[in-house]
Symmetry: C2
């Protein structure tokens, strides 16, 4: 086997792994959408579906991990190719955890509707912040697909907004609970839903940072937004 | 270089990586202890320390990731050795996130003491569940150090207990808030502390599952406790 042949085979393997990540990402996006839809409508079938489908997300992670290990063993990739594979292994860990958060939202939706509490406090805000978190996941996956690190700093900014929104929802819920202690249980459930959405944002941010690492070779996890922007513009 | 030489060099590299993981693990254990101590005493210096030291945990993760990538590129490990490296990469992701949870506990401790609320509800339960979560992290690290998968099923059982304790603390806090709405803010902070501890348990569980994967070659993430025990006993 000549060098070119090995490299072509490697490219094909890598393409397969990347395609699988994007499929997993698409499925996870649908899980979030379904969870928010279930929360809006209280549709029991949909709630069950989100909870049940989480197994599929988990299976996808295990199977892509396996593909990556096989690529490393068979193709013995060098520095830059290896960076791509490490990025894939990290990305799917975050995607799997986004799936967990979608499942948690569905479980909370079930609790809320089982108890027949149709008036959900801060629901407009929840839907708004959920739409931003979904946009972050979408951007992170696009940026992974195109190996384009430029959206990373946008995602970091959105993450700051989502964190701020979470704190604001929490403050409002506390006031709401104080005014009417009978609403405490529902408010706590809503608070955990807001927390799950905030976590989805964190995971999308992690994913976008792996793309920067992949393309720029520079690890931007745990650095400030300013430093990250400097790295991207280099 | 002959084969034996390569293999010895690989073993030395791997040993270095494993030692670093255990150092990181030890430091993360201290972070949890400090956070719980800070929560107990309200010691401001300790609170600041936990928050500030989180940077070190992050730096350790980035540096061990780098070591692992270098090992793969230089030594081109085969199946079983590679599994060890993938296990290390996944383990440090969980350790880093345990560090984040310790930092969150310290931040909540600051909020609680800034507002001079010296009576912390459900504090005995919090300390008890924290001690179990710490024991889980310790067991997971021991099991990593000795490549011994046998404690994995014990850790999974402890995780179920921690989850149940979390739900019980939450129920009690809701009652407490209903009885005295002025306690709502503090109760929410305590709720998030309980949640952080519950997450630490989840991460310890993940870590113990990687050891099973490493030793048994079988992925036990996302399987039932019974299935996992069957795998370990094989």
């Amino acid at each position: 086997m000549n060098k070119e042949h090995i490299s072509k085979q490697f490219d094909a393997d890598l393409e397969e792994a990347r395609t699988r990540v994007l499929q997993m990402g698409g499925f996870v996006e649908e899980q979030i959408e379904r969870a928010i839809e279930a929360l809006t409508t209280g549709n029991e079938e949909l709630i069950d579906q989100v909870i049940e489908y989480d197994h599929r997300v988990n299976a996808m992670e295990v199977s892509i991990d396996e593909i990556c290990s096989q690529i490393i063993v068979r193709r013995q990739p060098t520095a830059v190719d290896l960076r791509m594979i490490v990025m894939i292994i990290k990305t799917i860990t975050d995607l799997e955890r986004i799936g967990d958060e979608a499942q948690k939202i569905a479980r909370m939706a079930r609790l809320i509707y089982t108890n027949d509490r149709l008036q959900i406090p801060r629901f407009t805000e929840i839907k708004h912040v959920a739409s931003i978190a979904m946009d972050m996941v979408k951007k992170a996956l696009d940026s992974f697909a195109r190996l384009d690190p430029n959206s990373a700093s946008k995602i970091v900014r959105q993450d700051e907004f989502v964190d701020e929104e979470f704190r604001s929802i929490m403050r409002h819920l506390i006031t709401f609970m104080m005014e009417d202690p009978r609403k405490i249980s529902t408010s706590i459930e809503i608070l955990f839903i807001a927390k799950a959405i905030e976590r989805i944002g964190d995971h999308a941010k992690n994913m976008s940072e792996y793309v920067v690492y992949m393309v720029k070779g520079k690890d931007v996890r745990h650095v400030s937004l300013e430093e990250m922007e400097k790295e991207i513009q280099k």
